[in-house]
Symmetry: C2
DNA sequence: ACAACACGTAAGTTACTACTTACGCGTTCA
DNA sequence: TGAACGCGTAAGTAGTAACTTACGTGTTGT
């Protein structure tokens, strides 16, 4: 089993549309391909990547394969994004404090 | 000015490391390149993409260029991710309800 | 049993992307 | 004023990724 970075998985616009459709509710490959300007095999290949990124799950249903969204992959993205967000906020805070105390950095007063 | 999809911007592992470093606090190109196994121009090119994705900002500082994180790009990601998350949760709910009421779907009792 | 359906995968092509080295421009400091 | 620094960008290259068509497999219904 190959593991795929969920960031990479959602980077492609077409693949993001595929995932968005699956997230909205369980659906089959043909059903997804009908709404997209790409072939059915292309959708299959995108779903394979989403599977490897733990973003979707499959379930055989007669002769259909029903795809459903999965939380595991999203949790990774959530954690990373939350980290970026909080670090960005505290960086903002630090920069703001430094502009009030120019003594802290001895890099000469070229801050403006 | 070229606009870049923030999803695409954070898809590359190296670029994500560059952004993670900038998020942690303002820094220069050379400083980032010192901690990564790629050349300085490579870092410059990554920062260009992050700039176009509204994920970072620059500020000339003497002969250095100080990069800082920016919220705009992250907000897009946050909004998308939040949408995926909530839709995935409600899809889970729907699926759970359907398994208790097999009458709803006339696709014959092949659910197990 | 056979046609139709739903799907995955192999094979091939084209476009893009991440990287390198080489170069040029502005800034700092002796 | 000239050497060193910090950086962006151009040019070239190797690897990857997204797509297509063609084909094979399992399931449904007559």
């Amino acid at each position: 089993m190959v593991t795929v970075d969920p960031w990479h998985a959602l980077a492609d616009p077409t693949r993001r549309k595929v995932f968005a459709r699956v997230a909205r509710g369980p659906c089959s490959v043909t059903e997804i391909a009908r709404d997209l300007p790409v072939s059915r095999p292309a959708v299959s290949q995108h779903l394979r990547v989403l599977l490897d990124a733990q973003l979707v799950d499959v379930q055989q249903r007669g002769r259909e394969r029903l795809y459903q969204p999965r939380l595991s992959g999203l949790e990774v993205l959530r954690r990373d994004l939350e980290s970026y967000w909080s670090q960005t906020l505290s960086t903002f805070k630090e920069v703001a404090e430094q502009s009030y105390e120019p003594d802290t950095s001895p890099t000469e007063g070229a801050s403006r």
